[in-house]
Amino acid sequence: MGKILAIRFARLAGTLFAVTLLTFLMTSLLPGDPATAVLGQEGIQNAELLEEVREDLGLNDPLPVRYVRWLGNAAQGDLGESYINRGQSVSQTIRDRLPVTAQIAGMAIAIAVALAIPIGIVGAYRQGRWQDTASSAGVQVALSVPNFIIGIFLIWLFAVQLRWLPASNWNRISDKGLWANFQTAILPATALALTQMAIFSRLVRSDMIATLQENYILSARAKGLKDIYILFRHALRPSSLSLATIIGINFGALLGGTVVIETLFAIPGLGFRLINAINQRDILVIQGITVFVAVVYVVINTVVDLFYTVLDPRIRRS
């Protein structure tokens, strides 16, 4: 076990090094002077400002020195500040916006799991019959529809036609309370959830089919236990190991994957800020959000991987 841990952490360190280096190089490999790239069109005329940026970014030093310094600052939570929106610290931006994105992603995963488990179980239990065929076809379609298209039709149905929910905007829990927050969060979360639901339910179905062929299921059946009891109490838990893994990985991916949905619903999360930054060519904000999301993603993947190894002794031994 100790050896496995050591290998995993070495790999984690290597990946983090490569990921941070690549993101750091974003500003340095741009054609031309990084200072002008960071400042954008207006800043270039201002020689004083240009000199200030050079000073702040330490552009007079060699590249390796700059990388180590940038990494050191980033590790202490200092990702620099935006020169397009003066005085806005990148890490403060991330702190403000991460909870919003995490809430949407978390809700999406929760909805997806709640739908996927029954769908997957039905597919496995009725394998090859019409229930399975119908749910597989539904899953196939859900996988083919991009989330922004689902989002638009949710808006059309629930905001425009039925007028039950707001079409966009975001109510913070601290300002408007839990219910108002829920009203603005449910549509974007559902739009994100459908694709996840499709991925999860396929997994539950195939794992469940394998589990249902085990001898202990046969013995449970022989004891005369009800099917529904066997499915949920005996078969679901051993089948949900890989589901737990993919939930972890996809939650990490969703932190970056909410970009389109946040833009569609005008939700002030990380992704929406990233798109604004790209449109303003606010390089340091793009860099900061990219490196943050990538590092979180890599760390989540490693943790999930370890978790999986600990839970399943078969993998540990091999």
């Binding site: 990921v19 529809v145 298209i149 039709f153 991925i199 569609l264 060519r281 990219t290 990538a294």
Partner: protein, 339 residues
């Protein structure tokens, strides 16, 4: 369809831009004939089409229509200056038309009519023409990405699966770093670097990010094939490794990689659609399905049709590619098992 069950081992292939779980490794059954590396006989196109299930047939027809429409639109625009019978996708039909010297009679956000089959958009452009033209961007990006994936990813994967050792560790480490980023974030970061977002730039970026997934698919297949008897036989008679790679490994990895390209293409079209929707793909006024959806969603209270048309075009294309890709994947699995 045949009832032949191909032995296949499934390995999860993850991609930087490409789908998270596509089962793509094909390992042959024990019916192998040593030394038999000859390519399977070609079937006529008509016979292949006839062997398709109904849904796959419809999907194929849809794809042909979309590809044909996109090419027709491009030819019409670049060679004939929009003189062929399809309206100019960027002409605002309520505006002055320099060709006729008159003002157009169109209106913004019209319903379907004889002159505008699928109505008009917010600035009175013909939606049918824009949808037909919109396929061009999606298809170009998908084809370029597939080209990069097959040529670079397919070659790298075949190579490292065959030679193993340090080359494999080094190349796969590079691949893993690209895969360590969340796909969309890396794509956005790369796109944001470019000031001019031409079709070429977008295609190249998405193409580059497609390489890792193809490399993994090709490597997994190459690993399996490298252990087969005919490769051993080739080694035993002293064939040069480069020739084994060229003559034995690559031809046998290729069918799987090619059939993966369709499924990957479906994903690439969704990615390009998302990028267009965010306004970060090819610049306006070029019609893409994604930017049509983005523009039309602002008037969703007036007219849902303008969102529906490009959405359906996108979804049908993605679904069709998945269906046809799946069909060919099963066929190539069947073929490989007969090796």
């Amino acid at each position: 369809m045949t009832d032949f069950q191909a032995d296949s081992v499934d390995v999860v292939a993850t991609g930087a831009v490409l789908p998270e779980s596509t089962t793509m490794v094909v390992v042959g059954s024990s019916t192998a004939q040593p030394g038999d590396g000859t390519p399977p006989t070609r079937e006529p196109v008509r016979q292949v089409f006839a062997s398709m299930p109904l849904l796959v047939k419809f999907s194929t027809i849809w794809l042909i229509l979309i590809v044909g429409g996109a090419i027709y639109g491009k030819v019409d625009q670049t060679i004939f200056n929009d003189a062929l019978p399809l309206q100019d996708p960027n002409f605002q039909t309520n505006n002055f038309d320099p060709r006729t010297g008159e003002f157009g009679t169109g209106e913004a956000i019209e319903g379907p009519s004889a002159s505008h089959w699928l109505g008009t958009d917010a600035i009175a452009r013909d939606t049918f023409a824009r949808t037909v033209h919109g396929g061009w961007v999606s298809l170009t990006v998908a084809v370029v990405a597939a080209g990069f994936g097959i040529i670079v990813g397919g070659f790298l994967g075949s190579l490292v699966g065959f030679v193993r050792g340090r080359t494999e560790i080094l190349i796969m480490a590079g691949i893993d770093v690209i895969l360590a980023f969340p796909a969309l974030i890396l794509l956005l970061a790369m796109v944001s670097i470019f000031r001019v977002r031409s079709l070429l730039v977008i295609s190249l970026v998405i193409g580059f990010l497609s390489i890792p997934a193809y490399t993994r698919v090709a490597r997994a297949n190459s690993l399996a094939i490298s252990n087969r008897e005919f490769v051993l036989a080739a080694r035993a008679i002293g064939t040069k490794p480069s020739k084994i790679l060229r003559r034995e490994i690559i031809p046998n990895v290729l069918p799987t990689v090619l059939s993966y390209a369709m499924v990957a293409g479906a994903f690439v079209i969704v990615v390009e659609g998302s990028l267009s929707f965010l306004g970060l793909s090819v610049q306006l006024p070029t019609a893409t399905w994604g930017n049509m959806i983005n523009q039309a969603r602002r008037d969703i209270e007036l007219n849902i049709l303008q969102v529906l048309v490009p959405s359906l075009a996108l979804v049908f294309t993605v679904l069709s590619l998945n269906q046809v890709g799946d069909f060919f994947r099963k066929r190539s699995a069947f073929r490989a098992s007969a090796l």
